[in-house]
């Protein structure tokens, strides 16, 4: 899987590259529209992460070019502006997703994988980890052949963990992903704990070969037993 990150902030670029490479993606980078145009012209990417504010122009222009040339790469807009206009314009121009800075890497990871899945499987997609299979269309989870009954939030949590297998998932990132942005200032995220507890119980009862491990004070990690 090849990913192109177009981002002019070197630190940000390094962090994203570093994180995605650990997910075994091939990551290329560009720091300007000019450089990005060169790379897009030569290579094909599965997903492009596009910053809107670049030194030599607006990333949305690049997006227009891509769509005019009928280049089918998946595009996720990454913007520090967090304005609804940018978001709507970007999505109208054919971007697959929009992510406002600052974001958690786990969130970026989940979004990238969602875009890749949608493109590769044309909708019909499943994630298989160990003996657990998550069906994203049916919103069902099977352990071996038995269906696991999860509520909507438990499903979202499990899916988020599956996208970030073996990675540290910060509980803030998890809360924002599952409960929405406006939960972000809620009193401690301890309430997440009860949901995790339920999910763990259900997984262990079904003998899933997965475990959600707590990382002291920070968050959780999904590991294959």
């Amino acid at each position: 899987m090849k990913i192109l990150i177009i981002e002019d902030e070197q630190d940000m670029l390094d962090t994203m590259k570093n994180f995605l490479e650990k997910e075994n993606f091939v990551v290329e980078t560009a720091v300007s529209i000019l450089e990005a145009r060169d790379k897009i012209g030569i290579y094909e990417y599965d997903c492009i992460l596009l910053d809107i504010n670049l030194k030599d122009g607006n990333g949305l222009e690049l997006l227009k070019d891509l769509k005019e040339k009928e280049i089918e790469d998946g595009v996720i807009i990454v913007s520090a502006r967090n304005s609804l206009d940018d978001k709507l314009e970007g999505l109208n121009l054919g971007a697959d997703d929009y992510l406002a800075k600052p974001f958690h890497m786990a969130e970026l990871n989940a979004r990238v994988k969602a875009v890749l899945r949608r493109r590769q499987f044309k909708g019909a997609n499943k994630i298989n980890i160990a003996n657990v299979s998550v069906d994203l269309d049916e919103h069902t989870v099977h352990v071996d052949e038995t269906e696991l009954s999860l509520n909507r939030k438990e499903f979202e949590i499990l899916l988020f963990f599956c996208s970030n297998q073996n990675r540290l998932v910060n509980k803030t990132a998890l809360a924002e992903h599952v409960w929405g942005d406006h939960i972000d200032q809620a009193d401690s995220f301890e309430f997440i704990y009860s949901q995790i507890k339920n999910l763990r119980k259900k997984l262990s009862v079904a003998k899933a070969e997965l475990e959600i491990k707590a990382v002291y004070g920070i968050g959780y990690k999904l590991v294959v037993l």
């Binding site: 994180f19 609804l84 600052p102 958690h104 009860s194 004070g217």
Partner: protein, 420 residues
């Protein structure tokens, strides 16, 4: 009280006192002049009567006034020598008025052919009560006339003179530092007003400038902090993924992460607040607060359940407001968050929507919060580390942006309500 009325009332008061004093003096002066003139007339008449008596001795014995205006009566020389002329006011029956009317009477003694005669001469005089009445009436007319003239003067002339002042005042009344509206003044013939206009324009210009630069600073600062914060958090997360860390080291990183995340949240809030104040949310639509509440209650259910709280939703009407949907969600969710974070555990949160009011109430501390401070930034009671004290300030800013009212009330429970 308006400036005009204020001066008019002063004039009215001063005039009332001045006119009263003036009226008394005028009355006394006039009366004095009348008596003087009457007394002169009486003296003259006396001399005429005495002259006549020298020729017509029969009038020397005339004890009654009858149809004349005098009486003459012989008196002893002893009495006559001692007698001094007196003028006095007395009453006399007047046939035309069928009443006793005041008259002025001169009593005098004269000597004729070695005999002394006492003469009384009367002349009718002004009726004092009538005089006072007339005078009072005229005075009231004068007074009213003066007041009316002052009012007219005030309304036409003073208004014209003070016009630049009122123009300025009207603009100041509607002036809001966060709106892009400046004050415009027109030059006046009066130096003081020109100076006032100039100074106010300068002062407001300075205030708007510093307000804007402060706003800009907060926004820029918050904006610039975003990326470094995110990068720091991400790097620390990557560090934790490193498997050779001891538990102590992880705990330290966790603490750093928690603090950085607190900072990120506060930063986000400040950014949101300045965006609201900069009116960067302008796509308004009709928003049904009851619907949004239902959605958000769903989202907050887990958090509430975790604290053993129950959210009761009462829909007694529908409250539709034209505003930005995203801001409406922020507004309501901040009130919910506030209620859940500060509310007493194992209690209920009441959410009520009626046609003109949206309210959220929770049980909590038993004393009322200070309603003047509660909506200011960083004023929250720090019962929780996760609360940064900006939530309510954001809600307030949103309601102000849409000319809604957000108020607090303590009725045993803490009540926050929005009204139009």
């Amino acid at each position: 009280m308006k400036l005009q009325n204020y001066t008019t009332s002063y004039f009215a008061g001063v005039l009332l006192v001045l006119l009263s004093i003036w009226a008394v003096i005028f009355y006394l002066e006039m009366l004095d002049e009348i008596y003087d003139s009457l007394d002169d007339g009486l003296e003259n008449q006396k001399m005429l009567v005495i002259q006549r008596a020298k020729e017509q001795t029969d009038i020397l014995n005339k004890p009654e006034f009858d149809d004349g205006s005098y009486t003459i009566k012989k008196v002893s020389p002893n009495y006559g020598l001692q007698f001094k002329d007196t003028y006095r006011d007395t009453l006399m029956y007047m046939q035309n008025e069928d009443d006793f009317e005041p008259v002025r009477m001169l009593e005098s003694v004269f000597k004729l052919d070695n005999s002394y005669y006492k003469i009384k001469i009367v002349t009718s005089m002004v009726e004092e009560d009538d005089l006072i009445e007339d005078l009072l009436f005229s005075l009231i007319m004068l007074y009213l006339g003066l007041i009316v003239s002052i009012l007219l003067l005030n309304n036409f002339i003073l208004k014209k003179i003070w016009n630049p002042f009122y123009l300025l005042l009207n603009q100041l009344k509607d002036f809001r530092i966060d709106k892009d509206k400046t004050i415009t003044t027109s030059p006046s013939k009066i130096d003081e007003f020109n100076l006032l206009n100039k100074r106010i324009e300068q002062m407001l210009g300075k205030s708007v400038e510093s307000y804007n630069s402060q706003k800009q600073f907060i926004e820029n600062a918050a904006h610039e902090l975003q990326t470094p914060l995110a990068i720091s958090i991400n790097k620390l997360e990557l560090l934790v993924e490193n498997n050779n860390l001891t538990e102590d080291q992880i705990a330290m990183i966790a603490s750093a992460l928690n603090n950085l995340e607190g900072l990120t949240r506060m930063n986000k809030s400040l950014l949101l607040l300045s965006k609201i104040e900069n009116s960067q949310y302008d796509d308004d639509e009709t928003v049904n607060l009851a619907e949004i509440s239902k959605e958000l209650i769903e989202d907050f259910q887990d958090l509430a359940t975790h604290k053993g709280m129950k959210i009761n939703f009462v829909e007694a009407g529908s409250l539709n407001i034209s505003m930005n949907r995203q801001l409406a969600r922020v507004l309501i969710s901040n009130l919910f968050k506030n209620a859940i974070i500060h509310g007493a555990e194992e209690n209920t949160i009441e959410v009520k929507v009626s046609n003109d009011k949206f309210s959220v109430s929770n049980a909590g501390r038993t004393e009322a919060l200070n309603p003047d401070k509660i909506f200011s930034r960083f004023q929250s009671i720090r019962t929780s580390k996760r609360s940064n004290g900006i939530g309510l300030a954001i809600s307030k800013a949103i309601t102000e942006r849409y000319n809604l009212n957000l108020n607090y009330e303590f009725t045993g429970r803490h009540n926050f309500y929005i009204t139009r």
